[in-house]
């Protein structure tokens, strides 16, 4: 399934999202739709591949935090895969880095 530059697939009850180059205010609608698609399929174990993301803002981080909260409430997890330094920097700035499981 594709949502703009975003790819998502379900593999053995795991949701795998591959984000495009930006995760910012203008992308939040597509990102939200992607997470909704996984929610509709009862997927709470989510891997977000961020290797393409070089630009992120607080709205982008906000979406990740919102869905991390939601899946944790259902004993799931949302992991960030291969984030670039730009993404890690903003997570550290808003004191949220430690909340995420990061896969390097």
């Amino acid at each position: 399934m594709l949502n703009g530059d975003i790819e998502v697939k379900i593999d053995n009850d795991r949701g795998i999202i591959v984000l495009g180059s930006t995760l910012s205010t203008k992308d939040t609608r597509d990102v939200r739709r992607t997470f909704e698609y996984l929610e509709q399929n009862n997927i709470t174990d989510i891997y977000v591949n961020m290797s393409n993301v070089y630009q992120v803002d607080s709205s982008g981080v906000g979406i990740l935090v919102m869905y991390l909260k939601r899946v944790k409430e259902q004993s799931g997890n949302l992991r960030l895969m291969f984030p670039r330094e730009e993404v890690k920097r903003i997570l550290r700035l808003v004191n949220l880095y430690s909340y995420f499981e990061i896969i390097e």
Partner: protein, 140 residues
């Protein structure tokens, strides 16, 4: 404080890149490191996003005035003015550090990057003033 730069853009997210790029150009004349440059650009972008989101309630032709001042000594000041709804200043809140919270991230980000942040109502809308301390050694 002397005015260094002034810009007026319509309230669309696509124009925020212009704010980031022009901030970078201005800051290049100061001896500011790469980390400070990156975070300052983040803060000014967040300020513009907040105006579009909260003062203007979405994208549109409403104008955002952006200016940069410096005392050419140890401070740079970034000022945003809008003519949107006067937001309740008491409602401008940072994220709650004790919670995994997605609210107030933009304001938290701005406050963590800038040394002084002030919001105030002006005749036509809201004015945000963000001041950053810089090293005294600069090229300008």
């Amino acid at each position: 404080m002397k005015l260094i730069f002034k810009l007026c853009i319509p309230g669309y997210y696509e124009y925020i890149q212009i704010i980031k790029n022009s901030t970078e150009k201005v800051l290049e004349t100061f001896k500011i490191n790469e980390e400070e440059l990156y975070t300052t650009k983040l803060a000014v972008a967040e300020a513009a996003i907040n105006i579009i989101k909260h003062s203007y309630k979405g994208e549109g032709d409403n104008l955002i005035e952006y200016s940069i001042y410096s005392n050419y000594k140890d401070e740079i000041r970034f000022i945003f003015e809008d003519n949107g709804d006067k937001i309740d200043l008491k409602n401008i809140k940072s994220r709650d550090l004790d919670k995994l919270d997605d609210h107030g991230l933009g304001v938290y980000l701005i406050k963590s990057i800038m040394d002084k942040v002030e919001y105030k109502h002006v005749e036509k809308g809201t004015k945000l003033s963000m001041t950053k301390k810089i090293g005294v050694d600069f090229d300008a």
